[in-house]
């Protein structure tokens, strides 16, 4: 109907305008050069690309173990009240605006110590944990009880059961949840505004210093008057959209593949 057509056309217009406007900016320089000096043209967003990779990497390292462990607790060990408390807490965490998370991490860690990529990653991780945890919980719940009982019946310890039997059965859903959380983290700007925004204009893999990031670069360039900046912003935006698209499609494909393999409806990601 009209509404669906409207929604789809907005998406198409959006992606199309990004792609068209970004076309001119893609060059080898774009991917390898740092920003140009004030007033000069050219340059690229290499530091931002590397920065995003590093920031998201560490955020994933922080968020996934945490999210999975929480989900295991809720699904395997917790009593009904404890489980409900944790679930509610995670839902609430999911609803905290990203900008407030940024302020939280700024006041807690950055004040007095300076910005750092790790603090930025920590802020991103806070946003990722509910997503990873929820996906893991859903998929753990779908692992048949019989599997666990059979394992325990054989005398295998609880923790071994979870680690070697339950988790591997759930791994597809966990990876799906992680991919979607990574896609979200890569596009977030607000948590990085106060934690990793004053960064050097050179490629750096060192997370103990603040790092540039693609979303913050788009943010800065979007408000600039220079058409070159705009073009680079479009190109960076296209990069992000393509990444998010690939991640979404991969997550979906994984979910469908697992569904076919195990015959289990592992729940909508």
């Amino acid at each position: 109907m009209l509404a669906a057509v409207l929604a789809v056309s907005v998406l198409v217009i959006l992606v199309a305008s990004v792609a068209i406007k970004a076309a001119g900016a893609f060059s080898w320089d774009f991917f390898t050069q740092p920003q140009a000096t004030f007033g000069e043209s050219g340059g690229g967003i290499a530091p931002a690309i590397v920065g995003t990779i590093v920031l998201v990497f560490w955020a994933t390292v922080m968020a996934v173990p945490m999210g999975v462990l929480v989900a295991i607790y809720v699904s395997e060990f917790a009593g009904p009240r404890a489980a409900r408390t944790v679930r509610v807490a995670l839902d609430v965490l999911n609803g905290v605006p990203a900008i407030v998370v940024g302020i939280f991490v700024f006041g807690l860690l950055v004040v007095g110590h300076g910005q750092s990529g790790f603090y930025g990653s920590f802020a991103l991780a806070i946003l990722m944990i509910p997503m990873v945890s929820r996906a893991t919980q859903e998929v753990l719940a779908l692992v048949p009880r019989s599997l666990r009982e059979a394992s325990l019946g054989l005398g295998i310890s609880r923790w071994r059961t979870v680690v070697s039997i339950v988790l591997p059965a759930a791994i597809g859903g966990i990876i799906t949840g992680t991919i979607l959380a990574v896609a979200r983290a890569a596009g977030e700007t607000a948590p990085l505004l106060f934690t990793s925004s004053i960064a050097a204009n050179s490629v750096s893999w060192d997370a103990s210093q603040p790092l540039q990031s693609i979303p913050l670069t788009i943010f800065t360039y979007s408000e600039s008057p220079s058409p070159q900046d705009h073009q680079q912003a479009w190109a960076a935006a296209l990069l992000l959209i393509v990444f998010v698209l690939i991640a979404s499609v991969t997550a979906r494909a994984l979910f469908a593949w697992r569904r076919r393999r195990t015959g289990v409806d592992a729940g909508q990601p």
Partner: protein, 302 residues
């Protein structure tokens, strides 16, 4: 219980405890940082619509209004659209079309907000100022909402961007709800002689009522918390205007543009007070959604 099990259980329990502590910690820390401003201004801060760094008179009023207005209009536009899309995808679209369109709508949700803001500044803004707002001004200019002259950056731009953001969220939840309506209900209604549309209107939608309400509340929560895309297009206004064309500001977007740049301690603390208010509003909408869902689950309709 074997020691390995005990250890494992303790580790996972610790993680769960840490998660809960994190939530509590965020709330505590934000309020604690805002405490000096709360002590200084009291509750009057909430309806004070001035924000004047020179006279040191700060108030959240203008931004609370901005947040409420932007979210209200955004959900007003988004909810019917989202429900219509969900209906289309579950009832009306040919089967081969459903999958691709559903995927496309969900991809819209995955677009980072900063990209939407970029599009809002460079594409939507000029279009609004050049085409839409003059048209609105011509036909509806007698309404205070559409008075004043067209502007690229302003409340209307922010409302449209927020609408684009909320639609996928509300529509995917609503679609799930529609898919779960028991066949018997639908078929029973048709057997009684109602038309397809009457069945949808009289049975499917009321059945999903609470779920749709929860989806809408969640959409509002998203709109309330959005800082980046809004600050890019809303124009940074500091005074209240009647017209939707005029620049304005919301709680989240004011925080994004001011926090680091506080020139006096009081101003910094006032921005933190804004953050505390924003957190309260976001938590209230989140809890409201959860309550609605829980009640519906108890009644057996979810």
């Amino acid at each position: 219980m074997r020691p390995g099990d005990l250890l494992f259980r303790a580790v996972t329990a610790l993680a769960a405890f840490a998660a809960v502590a994190l939530v509590v910690g965020i709330a505590y820390e934000v309020v604690r940082q805002a405490a000096p401003a709360i002590a200084h201004f009291g509750l009057a801060f909430i309806w004070n619509t001035t924000w004047n760094p020179i006279t040191r008179d700060f108030g959240a009023g203008a931004f609370i209004v901005g947040t409420l207005v932007s979210s209200f209009f955004a959900i007003l536009l988004a909810a019917p659209l989202a429900i219509a899309i969900a209906l289309f995808l579950t009832e009306l679209a040919p089967r081969w079309l459903r999958g691709p369109v559903a995927t496309l709508v969900e991809l819209l949700a995955a677009i980072p907000s900063v990209v939407l803001g970029l599009w809002g500044i460079l594409v939507l803004g000029p279009f609004l100022a050049g085409t839409i707002e003059p048209w609105l001004s011509k036909w509806l200019g007698w309404l205070p909402l559409f008075s004043g002259s067209p502007s690229q950056a302003g409340m209307l731009n922010a409302i449209l961007i927020l609408t684009i953001m909320i639609v996928p969220i509300v529509s995917s939840i609503t679609r799930e709800l529609f898919l779960r309506v028991p066949r018997e209900l639908r078929e029973g209604s048709l057997a009684l002689g109602t038309t397809r549309w009457e069945a949808i209107r009289g049975v499917v939608i009321p059945y999903c009522g609470p779920g749709i309400a929860a989806a809408i509340i969640l959409g509002v929560g998203r709109a309330v918390g959005e800082a980046i895309a809004v600050t890019q297009v809303i124009g940074g206004g500091t005074t209240l205007h009647r017209s939707l064309f005029a620049p304005a500001d919301t709680l989240a977007s004011k925080i994004a543009s001011s926090y680091q740049g506080a020139s006096t301690k009081l101003e910094g603390e006032s921005v933190l007070y804004l953050a505390a208010i924003l957190l309260v509003i976001a938590l209230l909408t989140n809890i409201a959604a959860q309550v609605v869902v829980r009640r519906a689950e108890k009644r057996g309709v979810l």
